[in-house]
Subunit: 195 residues, 2 copies
């Protein structure tokens, strides 16, 4: 499930140009599968080269010609195949959590800002997803609703956790920063669990 396959999937719903697809990535997929022009345009070129989509150009003035891509039968088969055979990964890489692991090494004020910023991001994401969800109706594909609901629900959980545990973490960070008086306590503890 790379950007290419995802573009193909979107084109299986209806024809679109790269710009349209980018908008779709910005709304629906933003929170779990971000992609920019730098991935989308090469993906479309590649799909066309493989015969999975066909492209027709609409001349325009003042702008580059609009290149509208439409999926082919081969493309449909390919996508259906991808849906059957891919075992989907769920990859998270959180610098936020990585930094928080070292919370006792940070200035409490800075730590506080970090937590607030993340909370803000989460709240913004929730609002964003809720807005998408409200645009759905009975005709909206069930998957789209499920996915939006999932995103909002998990983001709420994350925000709740931070709100709940924020003070305790800050408290302990304050303790260790006063104890160490800004200097690092070199605990000479070995990393890992070697007996």
């Amino acid at each position: 499930m790379d950007v290419k396959t995802l573009c193909l999937g979107l084109l299986s719903i209806g024809e679109a140009c790269g710009y349209d697809l980018k908008k779709e990535f910005e709304s629906t997929f933003k929170h779990f599968y971000p992609a920019g022009y730098g991935s989308i345009y090469p993906a479309l070129a590649d799909l066309a080269e493989n015969g999975f989509v066909r492209c027709r150009e609409i001349p325009q003035e003042g702008k580059p010609d609009r290149k509208i891509y439409r999926i082919t039968d081969a493309g449909r088969r390919h996508f259906r195949n991808a849906l059957c055979n891919t075992s989907p990964q769920h990859k998270l890489r959180s610098e936020f959590l990585a930094m928080l692991y070292f919370a006792d090494r940070m200035e409490p004020e800075h730590l506080s800002v970090l937590l607030d910023e993340r909370l803000e991001e989460l709240r913004a994401a929730i609002v964003d997803i809720d807005r998408i969800e409200q645009r759905t109706d009975a005709n909206t594909a069930a998957g789209a609703r499920f996915v939006a609901g999932f995103g909002a629900f998990v983001a709420r959980a994350a925000a709740d956790y931070i709100e709940t545990n924020r003070e305790a973490l800050l408290e302990q960070a304050r303790e260790s920063s006063t104890g160490a008086a800004g200097k690092q306590t070199d605990r000479t503890v070995t990393v890992g669990t070697r007996a």
Copy 2:
């Protein structure tokens, strides 16, 4: 906050060799910042080259010499700096959610398997994190506990959501697959929200 900085952070807790760091990544960081030997060893070499860590070799028989890395003062400064100046990203790339977006295009049986597999992964992660959490004591850094708690809490939320909405999604997928009789309904709906 790349693998390099994270290695440096771990070495600021205590000296270790690449193998030790990998174990740490496998336990604590696995769920939000995975890294393999292919990232860790080059990272250590790089840190050494920059003077952020020093390396001493313990000769061993039958195995490669153990290369124990210890952080330098410059390294400590560098890490403290990184903690202050990095604005942490939180990146998610979920093929799982991307595929579910197209749930109505999948065989209901396959969809069901996908959901179950993800649930299994989540449950395994929860067990794993809980085990890590139980190993913590009063001396454990507050950050480590916060991060573990976060992971478990959010994973539980994700599992709950899937369990709650699983049947509804499957139901709707069954409807659309009978309706379309295996064939794709070409909805000629354009992607996006163009009026």
